[in-house]
Assembly symmetry: C2
Homo-oligomer: 155 residues x 2
């Protein structure tokens, strides 16, 4: 919780809320049809996930990405990527340092296991649906950094 609070404080004191951001609705995005590409069309920047719905304590987030992210891991949860558009590469690095790449196209998904280092990469823009527990930091374990974004922003 301290880590999340730190991220939130960084956000609230040094950044202005992006135009497409809305507060969490009381219905949590439930009981309605959600057009995923329509939601993504509202996003302005890359690497800025926005929540569209919650299922129990999990969140569905849309994001568009381009270029390379950083190596990170989530030590306490699996994480799911569903590709809605474009071609995604996810590099996975095992404990020995060996790297292998997953290649995902639209209509394909991958679950990254808890504790496995991974790095998403998009040669051209990729549109994604992410599924993970509420409160997971986009940059994984450890201190927030330049690529860390505020959590629980909705669109």
């Amino acid at each position: 919780m301290l880590k999340l609070a730190a991220v939130f404080n960084t956000y609230s004191t040094t950044m202005s809320a992006p135009a497409e951001t809305s507060p969490a609705p009381h219905h949590r995005g439930q009981g309605q049809s959600i057009d995923l590409l329509g939601k993504i069309a509202q996003l302005q920047g890359h690497w800025q996930p926005r929540v569209v719905a919650e299922m129990n304590d999990y969140q569905f987030k849309v994001v568009k990405i381009a270029g390379e992210f950083l190596w990170h891991q989530h030590s306490d949860t699996d994480e799911t990527f569903i590709v809605l558009g474009g071609e995604l590469r996810i590099d996975l690095r095992d404990a020995s340092g060996s790297i292998r790449a997953l290649h995902l196209q639209a209509g394909q998904m991958a679950v990254i296991p808890q504790g496995v280092e991974h790095k998403p990469f998009a040669q051209a823009e990729v549109k994604l649906l992410l599924i993970e527990p509420r409160g997971v930091a986009n940059t994984g374990d450890g201190e927030a950094g330049a690529r860390t974004v505020a959590n629980d922003l909705w669109v």
Copy 2:
């Protein structure tokens, strides 16, 4: 657990495993690219969900449906529908008996809140990705019936 055991026993004593069913893999479908429509192409019947991956204690299931299901609810969990092909209608019935319909096309999703009665309907075949906790019965709360299927079958 008793309810789940009952479903399993019904299955194991009265039905043979469909040809497209495989046992749960040790990797739980993780760390690999999963082509969702490719998985659905392996399914034989309607209303026969098959697990393709797990994320923590949740399962991703593909299913193809046609026609009308039955009214049911899940008193202890939300449930997510993502439409991969076709047009899905989900009727929702509130405590007063009022019914409203959600209409979902490919690329659209809906989270049905815990405890809300719902009934999926497909005028023509619909291809779906379902996300829910491991062990949820397809027909919801109460006794298993003619539409109840075995759980934790993979494809």
